[in-house]
Amino acid sequence: MDEFQEILQDFLVESFELVEKLDEDLVLLESDPEDLELLNGIFRVAHTVKGASSFLNFDVLTHLTHHMEDVLNKARHGELIITPDIMDVVLQSIDLMKSLLNTIRDTSSDAGIDVSECVSRLDKVSGGDGAVPVVEATPVVEEAPAVVEETPDNDDEEEMDYDSMDADEVEAEIERLLQQRQNEDKAKRAAKIAAGEAVPEAPPAPDEEEPAAAAAPTPAPAPVAPAPVTPKPAPEAKPKAEPAGEAKAAAPAKKAPAAVEQTIRVDVKRLDHLMNLIGELVLAKNRLIKINDDVEERYEGEEFLEELNQVVSIVSLVTTDLQIAVMKTRMLPIGKVFNKFPRMIRDLTRELNKKIELEISGEDTELDKSIVEEIGDPLVHIIRNSCDHGIEQPEDRVAKGKTESGTIKLKAYNEGNAIVIQIDDDGKGLDADMLKNKSLEKGIITEKEADNMSDKEAFTLIFKPGFSTAATVTNVSGRGVGMDVVKTNIEKLNGIIDIDSEVGVGTSMKLKIPLTLAIIQALLVGVQEEYYAIPLASVLETVRISNDEIYTVENRSVMRLREEVLSLVHIGDIFEVDRILDGSEYAYVVVLGLGAQKLGLIVDSLVGQEEIVIKSMGDYLKGIEGVAGATIRGDGGVTLIVDVVALMQMAKGVKASASSQNNAVAQISHEKSKASDYKIMIVDDSKTDRMIMRKALEPLGVSLIEASDGQEALNILKSGEHNFDAMLVDIEMPRMDGYSLATEIKKYNKYKNLPLIAVTSRTGKSDRMRGVESGMVEYITKPYSADYLSSVVQRNVNFKSEFL
């Protein structure tokens, strides 16, 4: 039973591959019905599937493919011209074949799908076309009704099949198949022996069938007896049918056997495991680099450093190469996804009565398997959308002076660390105003939002769930679901969508997707004492802005970024960081782009770019909003990875908080309504000096608090009872002098920007230097005039002149 399962698995994998190819070839064939080579190829594919399924007793599938074969065989012999109608029937039968294969995969049996309708249509095509000159008398017409009864005997099937060919061909086909199987089997056995018992390599099989040898993993040693194979080649040979199929395709076409690609199938799990191991290695490498840096610093100039440096750089180089190599093994050409579109477009054009041509380029561009699997659905929706809403009816196109048939261009290319898939159509384009009106109607946006929307933002409306411009729901689209799926899926892949459109000219959609998901480039940012990693794929740019550039619009912080208005949110508000606001003059803004939305994330510091490995945080902490996972940094610490998708959502929620952040700024910088709101501490051990200062400042009407030495001043500050705007500090004091006080104060983030003004009789240059070093902003030497002191204080606390 196990053996059967194994064979079945191989059969399924192979058949799915073949069917996919069939789809593609048939569409090609339709545009060039005369291409005999192509036709032969298609026939052989159908034949292979039929043969394999009959061996495995999938009667329904055999039955269906058999009739397909009839039609194709006739076409091959020029007895039948492939018209679009015939093609429809053939394509329909391929669809049936696919669903049969799916059923087999799920249930190990092909029961439950009715093929008789399709079979009779096929028969009609192959038999009913009596008008077509029949060169050789083929008994198809008579036979067809007989086989409509299901559960035909296998052997009969085989015979009937070959009956439909001419005698020579049958001979040749049988001959070839047999040879193929024998060779395959020999090769397989040989490989087993070679692997298991290390039998010395014998000269390659003196067989006339070269392609078989080429397809086999090792040269087939001749001495292995082919005899036992022949009696029952069926169960053993069939799993290898794929190379056989390839070989068959190659042989008659007289193609060089060397062209057959040498590949092996590997379980994806093994590759995943390999990727995990590489991940560990990358982390270790990061750590090594960090240690190397530390060592370098400590033992500068030592000789062994040179050597260490070399080793570290080799290790890091090889690790990077290794990572790329393993990543490549997981890469698939995007053509795997693209090749189902010609068929789709064909079906759509017939359904919608439009003329559409599909141009595909860059199908060799490769990307990670997991992404290839995810990208299919969004592309289907986008292309359907282009066909249905983008491309106009032929007569409309002609009226507009365009060519009758529309063109959809599907293009893939690499751009840096990402792959770009571009879908262009030359249809009617998106009308921003119309989109806005529709959205208003459906209540997706408010009037105010609509007014503030740029054209580009309006284009993104098509991604809103429930949005549809179609007046009626058609088979193809109009439910307002598809584009929402596109957005969700692309965002899941950390991708970005960019739409460009011009009314009457066409629409261009760009999907920018990172190459892989397991190891990513990230931007490390700091907020207070914490660090977070933001996937670089979602980072558009970083900018440093001064706080004046942050505006508040409707309770949201925003900034102007060139021509756009960008919403801002502080990372601390999202991740509940206790923010002892330092109110520095500048803010770093990381501009995040996701799908078509943008957001500015304010951070305290930008640390740099690093390669990180995504690790899950286990079930216990799964699904924490805003956190996509964690990574281990070079120093062994854990850094959380920002989930940009969730963050964008959360940013909407912190609307109020974004403004409260502004309030916080206001509070800390003390929005003053009267002069006495300003609080200034005077620190001096001499009562007289304190008095002089008090006298100088009292006319301003500010609140003054006195401390007689550094320690006392620090205690007052720590108590948090008062929020000081500035401190006047004497240098020479008992217990704690002015310098130490300043140094202590600057240790607190909260007071980093509290202006400290030294008031002292020390006038030496070195004293001034020390003052600056300890964090004093001004240095006033005694004696001073009251006005001077007052003006210095006013300047440092931004005293509002209207209070004077």
């Binding site: 945080m617 286990g618 079930d619 216990y620 924490i624 996972g629 281990i632 854990v638 959380l640």
Partner: protein
């Protein structure tokens, strides 16, 4: 040499047998202190016990989830049992330990105040939790008595279950 080895192996297997015989009515636990009380968990659920290391805070979690830490390449949640048991946080000291518990695929680290000892306790000495505390949500597996001490035996699966 091989004789000696055999002897040792035999001896060990004998011991093992003895151990197995007893395992039916003996439970091996590791005791630890949180606040004033002594608690215990089955020894086999403990992956390791380590001294406190740095951890990273995780936002959007209850206060008793301290964050995550790096245990030889794995990212593991850190849960403070003091806070979870409503005792308020305490600074870590020389006796503080991280208990790494594992059951199935679930792994988590727990902050405890102090380790006491590994102990063997007869099953018959373990009583059910007080009636007032019996419920499906209870984290208490039972109450063990030994030499006048009372140990609260905790349910590891409940400790490892996310409850927020």
């Amino acid at each position: 040499m091989s004789d000696k080895l055999k002897q040792i192996i035999n001896k060990q297997s004998e011991q093992k047998d003895v151990g197995l015989d007893q395992s039916e009515d003996i439970v091996q636990l590791v005791g630890f202190i949180i606040g004033e009380e002594e608690y215990a968990v089955p020894i086999l659920t403990i992956q390791e016990i380590i001294k406190p290391i740095n951890w990273t805070r995780v936002p959007q979690t209850p206060p008793y989830v301290r964050g995550v830490f790096n245990l030889r390449g794995s990212v593991i949640p850190l849960i403070d049992l003091r806070i979870k048991f409503g005792l308020g946080a305490k600074n870590h000291n020389d006796e503080t330990r991280f208990f790494v518990l594992k059951q199935g695929d679930e792994v988590a680290g727990f902050v405890i105040d102090r380790l006491t000892m590994a102990l063997r306790i007869k099953k018959s000495d373990i009583g059910p939790p007080p009636d007032t505390l019996i419920s499906d949500d209870s984290m208490i597996e039972g109450v063990g008595k030994q030499d006048g001490r009372i140990l609260t035996i905790l349910k590891v699966n409940k400790l490892l279950a996310r409850d927020f």
